[in-house]
C-alpha cells in the first residue's frame, strides 16, 4: 500500500507533554482547528460590529453622529477584508479543513503537524497586525476592501500611511500562514488517506476543501505579489501601479504606473477567492443535507466533477469584476461568457442538493434548517450573479446597492449559513455535548428571515440607482424618500439579526457546560469522523488500528439493510453479497 498514514510508520505524531503543548503550542489538528475557529469568529465579531455602526449611519444619518465620514470608509474596508479573508477563508480552511480532513480520511493527523501549528500562530500574527491598525494615529485604511490604487496609498484617503501599510503587511503574513496550512491539507489528502479511502470515496467536504485549498495556493500569490508591489509604491516611491498624479496642488513623484494592472492582479486572486470560500461551503452543506435527509447525495460523481470544473474555470473569470475599468470590449465578451459557463457546474450542484432532498426522510434538525436555508440564499445570490455577469447589465448596476445585495447574499450570508450548519452538525463530535435545540431553531429563523429583510431591499435600492460607498445621501431627486425609509428598515433588520447571534453564543457556552452528553454518532452518519473510538476524538484520532474503508460516504437508506445508514467502515455487505471482501 502506498499510503500508510504517517503515525503508523513511527514518524512524526507529536505527543503533548504538558497542558501548554496540548492546548496552546499544540500540533494536534483538532486543537489547531479550534484555535483557528475561535480566532476567526472573534475577529468576525469585530467586523459584525463595524457593519452595525455603518448601518446606523446609513439608516439614521441625522440621528447618530458618532461616525465621521472617514471612519465610515475605514469600517467599510475593515468589515469587507475581515469577513472575506480573516473570517471566512480562515474558518472554512483553517477551522473545518483542519478538523475534518484527517478525521474524514482516517488519518491520525496532518502530515506536517509542526507546520500546521506554525500556520495558526502566523495567522494569529496577521490578525494582530491588522487589528493594530485601529490603534495607529491614522487609523485603519479606508481604501475599500479592494485597495485600488492610486487612491489606496494617497494622502487624503483615510488611513494613508500606517493604516494601509499594516493592511498590506497583514495580508502578506496571512498568505504565508495560509500556504503553510494549505500545503498540509493538500499533502494530507494526497498521502495520508487510510486503506480503502479512494478519491471517489472521499466525502464531498474533503473534495471541496481540497480543491479550494489548491485554488488558494494558486490565487493567494497574486494578492501577495500585488501587496509587495503596492508596499514598494507606498514606501520607496516605485511606480508599479501609480500613474503620474497631481495631488493637492503638487505633482507627486510617481509616473506611468498602471492602476489597471493592480486590478488584474487583485481580481486574479479575488475571483478564485470567492470559490475558496464557496467550495468548502458546497462540500459541507452536501454532507449535512445527505445525512439529515437520510438519503445518499444525488449525483456524487457529478458533484465531484462540478467541484473540479468550478475550480478550473474560476481562474478565467476574474475580469468580470472590471467591466467598468475601461478594458477592451472583447475582453468583456470573453469574461461574460466564462462567467455564464461557470454557472453551469454551480447550477448542477444546486439541482443535486434539491434532488437529494426530494423524497428524502428529512429531519428538520438545526443543521438541516441552516443547510436548507443556504439553498435559498444561494439560489437568490447566484441568480443576481447572472445579471451582473453580463456587461451591459453590470455597467449601470455596478456602483449601486444591487452589487451589495448580490454578493452579501451569495458569499456573505450563504457561506455563513453553512458555517452555522456545520458548527451545529459537528458540535457533538467536537465538544462531546449536544447543543440546545430550541435556541438553535430560534437562531436559524431570525437569521434566515432577517437576512432577507436586509438584503432583498438592497436589490431594489440598486435598481433605483442608489450608489454604494456613500457615507450619507442628503436630499437629492435621485433618491426618493421611500428609499431612505427602506434604508432605515434595513438597519432595524440588521440589528435584529446581529443581536440574534447572541443566541448562538449562549447556546455554545450553555451546551459546553450543561448540554446533554453526545452519542458518538448522534446523526447516525456514515463518514469516518463519527466512527472514532472516543468522542471527542483523542489525540491520534483512532485506537491502535487505523480504520479501513469498505464503501462510499453516502450509504443512506440502502434497500435491504437493517439500519438507514451503513458506516464507511462496515465490512458486512448485505446488499451486494457477491462483491466486497
Amino acid at each position: 500500500m502506498a499510503h500508510v498514514a504517517i503515525a503508523d510508520e513511527g514518524q512524526e505524531l507529536h505527543h503533548p507533554k504538558s497542558w501548554v503543548t496540548a492546548y496552546i503550542w499544540s500540533q494536534d489538528h483538532k486543537v489547531i482547528a479550534i484555535q483557528y475557529g475561535i480566532t476567526a469568529i472573534s475577529v468576525g465579531l469585530v467586523a459584525l460590529v463595524l457593519s452595525g455602526l455603518m448601518r446606523l449611519q446609513l439608516g439614521f444619518p441625522d440621528t447618530f453622529s458618532f461616525l465621521a465620514p472617514y471612519e465610515y470608509y475605514q469600517y467599510v474596508t475593515m468589515h469587507g477584508m475581515i469577513m472575506v479573508i480573516y473570517l471566512l477563508t480562515a474558518l472554512f480552511l483553517g477551522g473545518f479543513g483542519n478538523y475534518l480532513i484527517p478525521l474524514m480520511l482516517g488519518a491520525r493527523d496532518m502530515v506536517f503537524p509542526f507546520l500546521n501549528m506554525l500556520s495558526f500562530w502566523v495567522y494569529l500574527l496577521s490578525v494582530i497586525v491588522l487589528m493594530a491598525s485601529f490603534f495607529v494615529p491614522s487609523g485603519p485604511t479606508g481604501a475599500g476592501w479592494t485597495l485600488y490604487p492610486p487612491q489606496a496609498i494617497l494622502e487624503g484617503t483615510p488611513g494613508a500611511g500606517a493604516g494601509i501599510l499594516l493592511m498590506l503587511v497583514s495580508l502578506a503574513i496571512f498568505i504565508v500562514a495560509f500556504t503553510m496550512g494549505g500545503l498540509n491539507y493538500v499533502v494530507t489528502v494526497l498521502q495520508a488517506r487510510t486503506r480503502g479511502m479512494t478519491l471517489m470515496r472521499m466525502p464531498l467536504s474533503v473534495w471541496a476543501i481540497f480543491v479550494a485549498t489548491i485554488l488558494g495556493l494558486l490565487a493567494f500569490p497574486a494578492l501577495f505579489v500585488s501587496a509587495i508591489m503596492m508596499t514598494l509604491d507606498l514606501q520607496i516611491g516605485t511606480s508599479f501601479f501609480m500613474p503620474a498624479i497631481l495631488s493637492m496642488g503638487e505633482n507627486l513623484e510617481y509616473e506611468g504606473g498602471s492602476p489597471v494592472l493592480f486590478q488584474h492582479l487583485f481580481w486574479f486572486f479575488g475571483h478564485p477567492e470567492v470559490y475558496i470560500v464557496a467550495l468548502p461551503a458546497f462540500g459541507l452543506v452536501s454532507d449535512v443535507l445527505s445525512t439529515h435527509a437520510r438519503k445518499s447525495i444525488f449525483g456524487y460523481r457529478m458533484m465531484v466533477w462540478a467541484i473540479l470544473a468550478i475550480g478550473g474555470i474560476s481562474f478565467i473569470v476574474w475580469a468580470h469584476h472590471m467591466y467598468v475599468s475601461g478594458m477592451n470590449p472583447y475582453f468583456g465578451f470573453f469574461f461574460a461568457t466564462t462567467t455564464l459557463i461557470i454557472a453551469i457546474p454551480t447550477a448542477i450542484k444546486v439541482y443535486n442538493w434539491v434532488l437529494t432532498l426530494w423524497r428524502g426522510n428529512i429531519h428538520l434538525t438545526v443543521p438541516m434548517l441552516f443547510a436548507i436555508g443556504f439553498i435559498f440564499t444561494f439560489i437568490h445570490g447566484g441568480l443576481t450573479g447572472l445579471f451582473l455577469g453580463n456587461v451591459s447589465v453590470d455597467v449601470p448596476l455596478s456602483d449601486t446597492y444591487f452589487v451589495i445585495g448580490h454578493f452579501h447574499m451569495v458569499m456573505g450570508v450563504s457561506p455563513v449559513l453553512v458555517l452555522f450548519a456545520a458548527i451545529y452538525h459537528w458540535f457533538p463530535k467536537i465538544t462531546g455535548r449536544m447543543f440546545h435545540n430550541a435556541l438553535g431553531v430560534w437562531h436559524f429563523w431570525i437569521t434566515f428571515l432577517g437576512t432577507y429583510a436586509i438584503y432583498l431591499p438592497m436589490h431594489y435600492l440598486g435598481f433605483l440607482g442608489v450608489p454604494r460607498r456613500y457615507y450619507a445621501y442628503g436630499t437629492t431627486d435621485l433618491i426618493p424618500e421611500s428609499a431612505h425609509t427602506m434604508n432605515a428598515g434595513i438597519t432595524v433588520a440588521a440589528f435584529i439579526v446581529g443581536t440574534a447571534q447572541i443566541l448562538f453564543f449562549i447556546n455554545v457556552f450553555w451546551s459546553l457546560r450543561k448540554g446533554k452528553k453526545a452519542d458518538p454518532n448522534p446523526w447516525r452518519a456514515t463518514t469516518l469522523e463519527w466512527q472514532t473510538p472516543q468522542t471527542p476524538p483523542a489525540h491520534g484520532n483512532w485506537g491502535p488500528e487505523l480504520p479501513v474503508v469498505y464503501r462510499w460516504a453516502y450509504e443512506y437508506s440502502t434497500p435491504g439493510s437493517a439500519e438507514d445508514f451503513i458506516p464507511q467502515t462496515d465490512p458486512v455487505d448485505e446488499t451486494h453479497p457477491s462483491s466486497g471482501e
Binding site: 502506498a2 504517517i6 469498505y550 450509504e555 465490512p571
Partner: protein, 219 residues
C-alpha cells in the same frame, strides 16, 4: 496575464493526468470492499510531495511577477536597464551550486560520507557566493544611478532578484540544517531524503533563475 495562464494550463494538464487513473467516472456506490488506491507502489514521502506543492506556489508567484512585468513593459515610461555582466558569473556560480548538490545526492545513495560532506559544503559556498554576487550587481547598478524608484524596469529588476535571493536564503537555512545533520551522523536514510529535497529545490530555483535571467536579457 498570459504567462500565468500558460503556467496554470500546464498545471491543469498534470492534474488531469493524475486524475485519469483515479476512476472518477466509476459509480462509487457500486464499489465495495477495501480496494486499493490506483497509485504507484513506490512510496512517495510526504515531505517530497510537500516540496513539490510548495514549488508550484513559488512558480505561481514568479509567473505573476513575469506577467506583471510584461504588462507594465508596454507602457511608455519603461526604460530598459543594462544587464550587469556580473550576472553571467552569478549564473555560473548557481549552476555550480546545483551541480554540487547533484553530486551530494548521488553520493547519499551509495557514495562515501566524505563526498556528501564536501559536496554539501561546496554547494553552500557557491550559493553564498551567488548571493554575494547578486548584492554586488545591485551595488554596481546603484553606483551608475539605476535606483529602484527611477524606472519600473529597475524596480522589477530589484524586486525579482530580491525575491529569488530570499528563496535562496530560505534554501540555505534548510541547507544548514541538512549539513548539521550530515556532520552529526544521523541515520543515512534521513540524510538521503534531506539531501534529495535540497537538490530538487536548488535545481528548481536554478531553472527559475535561468528563466528570469533570460527575461532580463531579452527585454
Amino acid at each position: 496575464m498570459f504567462v500565468t495562464l500558460i503556467f496554470l494550463g500546464l498545471l491543469a494538464l498534470i492534474v488531469v493526468w493524475w486524475l485519469l487513473p483515479q476512476n472518477l467516472a466509476r459509480e462509487p456506490s457500486l464499489v465495495h470492499g477495501a480496494i486499493e488506491d490506483p497509485r504507484p507502489d513506490e512510496y512517495f514521502p510526504p515531505a517530497k510531495m510537500g516540496l513539490w506543492v510548495f514549488l508550484v506556489v513559488v512558480t505561481s508567484i514568479f509567473a505573476l511577477f513575469v506577467s506583471a512585468y510584461f504588462i507594465r513593459m508596454e507602457l511608455s515610461d519603461w526604460r530598459p536597464l543594462p544587464d550587469p555582466g556580473l550576472l553571467w558569473v552569478n549564473t555560473i556560480l548557481l549552476l555550480l551550486g546545483s551541480a554540487a548538490f547533484q553530486r551530494a545526492r548521488s553520493a547519499s545513495q551509495k557514495g562515501p560520507l566524505q563526498t556528501i560532506k564536501t559536496s554539501l559544503i561546496a554547494a553552500g559556498v557557491f550559493t553564498v557566493l551567488f548571493l554575494t554576487g547578486q548584492l554586488w550587481a545591485w551595488q554596481q547598478l546603484g553606483a551608475s544611478g539605476y535606483f529602484v524608484d527611477a524606472n519600473p524596469a529597475n524596480a522589477f529588476f530589484y524586486v525579482i532578484t530580491a525575491l529569488h535571493g530570499l528563496h535562496m536564503l530560505g534554501g540555505l537555512w534548510v541547507w544548514g540544517k541538512t549539513t548539521v545533520k550530515v556532520f552529526s551522523d544521523v541515520a543515512p536514510e534521513r540524510i538521503s531524503l534531506s539531501v534529495e529535497l535540497c537538490t530538487i529545490y536548488w535545481h528548481y530555483l536554478l531553472l527559475i533563475w535561468l528563466a528570469l535571467f533570460g527575461l532580463l536579457l531579452s527585454t
